[in-house]
Point group: C2
Chain length 221, copies 2
């Protein structure tokens, strides 16, 4: 029984690797079996079809993603800006642990539109929860004039865009933008930049009411 679970899990691990790097169409059940160190037939014994194995992998991944996001924003009792910042930081670190997850999800959603419904349904619940959890706090801080008025949807999309895109584009940009820098350092520097962008996005406008030199020359319309 223990042996069994090991093999089944070995297949799942290998499958996740294969599916996330190559996509459904590029993945081969033979390669998965080989990577898992089992015979090809065993894969079908456990998971019946490639499609079912894929669904299982996708499901697991989305669950982990959900859990990480819910957990990322679960810091309560703190002001909106702190919660947001902490959420972004955790979200980024999660991606750092699963660097080709964004690529996988985005490809599969675009290329195999049958999958959209499932992903959308689960993301819907998730977004709903995060929203509900942050909206009131945000309003409160905005009412006090401490932060700019932004739609929370836009703000979160800004943040997720910044966080995810580094991983999506990494293979192309890393050598170009930061040659010789080790991956982890590169990513962590981006995390700080992303936080800065979001912080500045929330600076109340107009940033100054006095006509100080640095304010008069602002190019904000």
């Amino acid at each position: 029984m223990k042996e069994t679970e090991n093999r089944e899990q070995a297949i799942l691990r290998a499958a996740e690797r294969e599916f996330t790097t190559r996509g459904f169409d590029g993945a081969k059940t033979t390669s998965i079996a080989e990577a898992a160190g089992v015979t090809h037939a065993l894969l079908h014994y456990y998971f019946r079809t490639k499609e079912k194995l894929y669904e299982r992998v996708l499901d697991d991944i989305i669950s982990r993603l959900e859990a990480s996001i819910v957990e990322a924003f679960s810091v309560s009792g703190a002001p909106f800006t702190s919660r947001l910042e902490e959420g972004l930081r955790r979200h980024f670190l999660f991606l750092l642990d699963h660097p080709d997850l964004p690529r996988f999800l985005i490809h599969e959603i675009g290329a195999r539109s049958e999958r959209i419904a499932l992903v959308r349904a689960r993301m819907g619940r998730l977004v709903g929860r995060v929203f509900a959890s942050l909206q009131a706090d945000m309003e409160r801080q905005a009412a006090r004039g401490e932060i700019a008025r932004v739609s929370l949807a836009d703000l979160l999309l800004d943040a997720v865009s910044l966080n995810a895109f580094v991983f999506l584009s990494y293979p192309v940009i890393a050598q170009l933008l930061a040659p010789g820098v080790e991956p982890r350092a590169f990513f962590l520097a981006r995390l700080e930049e992303n936080l800065t962008v979001i912080r500045k996005r929330l600076i109340p406008d107009p940033p100054c009411e006095t006509a100080s030199p640095s304010c008069s020359s602002l190019w904000l319309p």
Copy 2:
């Protein structure tokens, strides 16, 4: 001869559509031929192999992307911030015309790493040109204290992240974040948000030297 070019081009168009939506592995030469309204053998007559057809499509796409970016930043004589803003706007509008191009490039780069070298080489030249063209102007404006000091690489990556990610995530997020809004309106609203983010990123810090109420409560560290 005219007929010929029509068919060859029909195959190319169909191929681009098939490759960009399904990726190399998901694309079928039979489907491409069918979509182009030609017999399957004709596709191999013109392009020999699926791989060669793919290379041709990828090459065309990258060329168009390059051209659009070079053109986007070609506004000269204007101050850095105007050039940047205009560049981002044009870049975004280009993506609006080719909405599944980011997804395609990112998947293929990740899933078929053989392709990285080609894409990276061409992007390298491109990034080099854009950088050279903007760097001096940026320095000048920063020296005058009109904009914050940021690495140009970070700033451009911020912008491209924001622009590209809307298209990458559109299938999942549109219904969630803006139900009932027509796609074009949704995208154009995002363009404005992206511009706002980048503008605010460039607000010089500290934004105010006087201790006005709106400044003293800033949560910038």
